[in-house]
């Protein structure tokens, strides 16, 4: 269990993390989501006592990080795949970490085996690919067989096979009752792995919710219709109180109803349908809308939100979505 209370970090006039309070519970995968520059890495560094908070506290099983006797046995972290000395072999990189926490040397071989790096154990980590570096970082996190695991953007730069491997690894680790805290800026990735979701933007908490609730609240469902008699269909829908929005390629979209209702309505009026399907807006879209007001660096000229007004920070918690 990790508890954050009013965690704040200021760099000069800029507030990177702003009164962040949440809990990371054991046995589930908690996704830590936010756009680039939202303060995810800063928060994680403060959790590991690498950065000093301006105010607020982080407790790991009730203790401050510096009070942990042999921290690698409580908490393993992958912060940055390249946080190893490139001139040292993978084995020795792990060995010096193991020795500092009195972890038996055979454990080094075990974790290398677990991440599939045994064949290159004696090679310098400088020559490792991004994926291999990521695996080495994960091996170092697993070294103390810890109860809590923290991964900062673990799938960054990985090939599909590597991404699949990390997902399954995280699920297996959570199933053993471990606390998994994983950051990402990809909503789609989180939707596949996380059970619980913490969203931040510009250092502020935007949502602290279960994945199921998040999906339910934020994925807009609508019905898509396509018909050769589009004008008539539109009139009929309008006459029955549905608002049909014209979408691309001659289709219509209707919110807040079911395919059954619209199918029956079309049959009643003998309108030919070429398509009648139930659609869900992607979570990625929901996430982008939620953080729209809190994105640090905007690209100009590309309106990804389709002109939707930026909702307030409490958007995800209360409203029912667009």
């Amino acid at each position: 269990m990790i508890e954050l209370e009013g965690l704040t970090k200021r760099f000069g006039a800029k507030t990177a993390v702003d009164h962040l309070s949440f809990q990371v519970r054991p046995g589930v995968i908690t996704g830590f989501l936010g756009p680039n520059g939202a303060g995810k890495s800063t928060t994680m560094r403060m959790m590991l006592d690498l950065d000093n908070p301006t105010s607020g506290t982080v407790r790991i099983d009730g203790k401050h990080y510096r009070e942990l006797d042999e921290p690698l046995k409580y908490i393993g972290a992958l912060l940055d795949a390249k946080a190893m000395h490139g001139g040292r072999s993978a084995y020795n990189n792990l060995l010096c970490l193991a020795q500092s926490n009195r972890i038996p040397e055979r454990r080094v071989g075990e974790v290398l085996d677990m991440v599939g790096l045994t064949p290159v154990a004696k090679k310098k980590s400088k020559g490792f690919s991004l994926g291999m570096g990521q695996r080495l970082g994960i091996a170092s996190a697993l070294l103390g067989d810890p109860e809590i695991l923290m991964f900062d953007e673990p799938v960054n730069g990985l090939d599909p096979e590597g991404i699949h491997w990390i997902r399954n690894l995280m699920k297996a680790l959570a199933a053993e009752g471990r606390t998994i805290f994983v950051s990402s800026h990809l909503m789609s990735e989180m939707a596949l792995t996380a059970d619980h979701l913490i969203v931040i933007g510009q250092g502020k908490l935007l949502a602290d919710t279960s994945m199921a609730d998040f999906i339910q609240q934020n994925s807009r469902s609508y019905v898509r219709l396509r018909s050769p008699q589009q004008e008539r269909l539109r009139d009929v829908l309008h006459a029955n109180g549905f608002i049909a929005v014209e979408a691309g390629s001659g289709s219509l979209e209707v919110d807040g109803t079911t395919t059954e209702k619209l199918g029956e309505l079309a049959a009643e009026h003998a309108i030919v349908l070429h398509e009648l399907s139930s659609q869900r807006a992607s979570l990625e879209e929901a996430f982008m809308q939620m953080t729209a007001g809190a994105v640090e660096y905007h690209a100009h000229g590309t309106d990804v939100h389709g002109g939707a007004p930026a909702p307030g920070p409490q958007w995800g918690k209360t409203s029912q979505g667009a």
Binding site: R45, G86, N92, S100, M211
Partner: protein, 278 residues
């Protein structure tokens, strides 16, 4: 879209590491730092080059002196060790800086400090491992070079026991202390090239500057620099008589001075490392 599992309640049990947890101590940090320093090639290179320079220059200068057969008064042949020690100190400076700054350069420092959150312990372990390694190697090499020099040059006075001690243990300890100063500076600056440059400047520039202080007004500054610049301190360590007159350092004093300077720098490094964001 996958259907999410309805998770709300935390899992009934939480995982506990099967590896027993004890209180980590300095011994563990020392083992870790020893693995680190012996497993990178820069250690081998810097110490290898250092040994080579001490041997080749120390014995080479002695061989030239032997062939000239000029009388040396009451100075012993051990003094020629200085000429190897000066370039060797650049190797020690490099290794000292790299011991910590390479961790900043690679990002390893974050991994190191998550594994051992007591920053004082990490720096202490690094300092002890580095000091013992450099002290042992330089002392042994200085003894070999000294024996060679005394055997080669028969016109020089034969060194006393205290001359021997200063030229071996003294030289080893002086270089190791200079290395600790470099390590402290590497901690403060966190950048290998920057810290090495500053250290080499500190080593050589005062003497170079003093060479060009022709003005009478700067006479006292020039004298002070000539007496206390690091190379001057090294010569004083070897000399049987104080080479810069009664006021300059003599005997073991250069080592005391360097220990004091390294101590102050290390104290600063401890303070800053403890309070700074990594």
């Amino acid at each position: 879209m996958t259907a999410p599992a309805p998770h709300h309640a935390p899992a009934p049990h939480s995982y506990v590491s099967p590896i027993p947890v004890r209180r980590a101590n300095l011994g563990d940090a020392l083992a870790s730092e020893w693995t680190k320093i012996r497993s990178v090639r820069s250690t081998l290179w810097t110490l290898g080059v250092m040994i080579l320079l001490m041997l080749v220059i120390g014995l080479g200068v002695a061989a030239i002196a032997a062939s000239s057969e000029a009388p040396m008064g009451d100075e012993s042949a051990l003094g020629f060790g200085f000429f190897g020690m000066l370039p060797a100190s650049i190797c020690v400076i490099t290794l000292g800086v790299l011991t910590i700054a390479s961790e900043y350069g690679t990002g390893m420092i974050r991994t190191t400090l998550t594994a051992c959150p007591s920053r004082a312990r990490v720096l202490t372990a690094k300092a002890i491992v580095f000091f013992l390694l450099v002290f042992t190697v330089t002392t042994v090499v200085a003894a070999i070079v000294g024996a060679g020099q005394v055997a080669l040059v028969d016109t020089a006075a034969s060194p006393s026991a205290s001359d021997w001690l200063r030229a071996t243990v003294g030289a080893g300890a002086y270089l190791a202390m200079l290395g600790l100063l470099s390590l402290a500076l590497g901690t403060l600056i966190r950048h290998s090239a920057g810290a090495i440059t500053v250290m080499i400047g500190l080593l050589l520039l005062p003497l170079v500057a003093a060479l060009f202080m022709f003005s009478e007004a700067l006479k006292s500054v020039q004298e002070w620099l000539f007496t206390y610049a690091i190379p001057s301190q090294m010569i004083s360590l070897y000399a049987a008589q104080p080479p810069f007159g009664e006021n300059g350092p003599s005997g073991w004093e250069p080592l005391l001075i360097m220990t004091g300077v390294a101590g102050v720098a290390l104290a600063g490094a401890f303070a800053l490392l403890n309070n700074r964001d990594v």
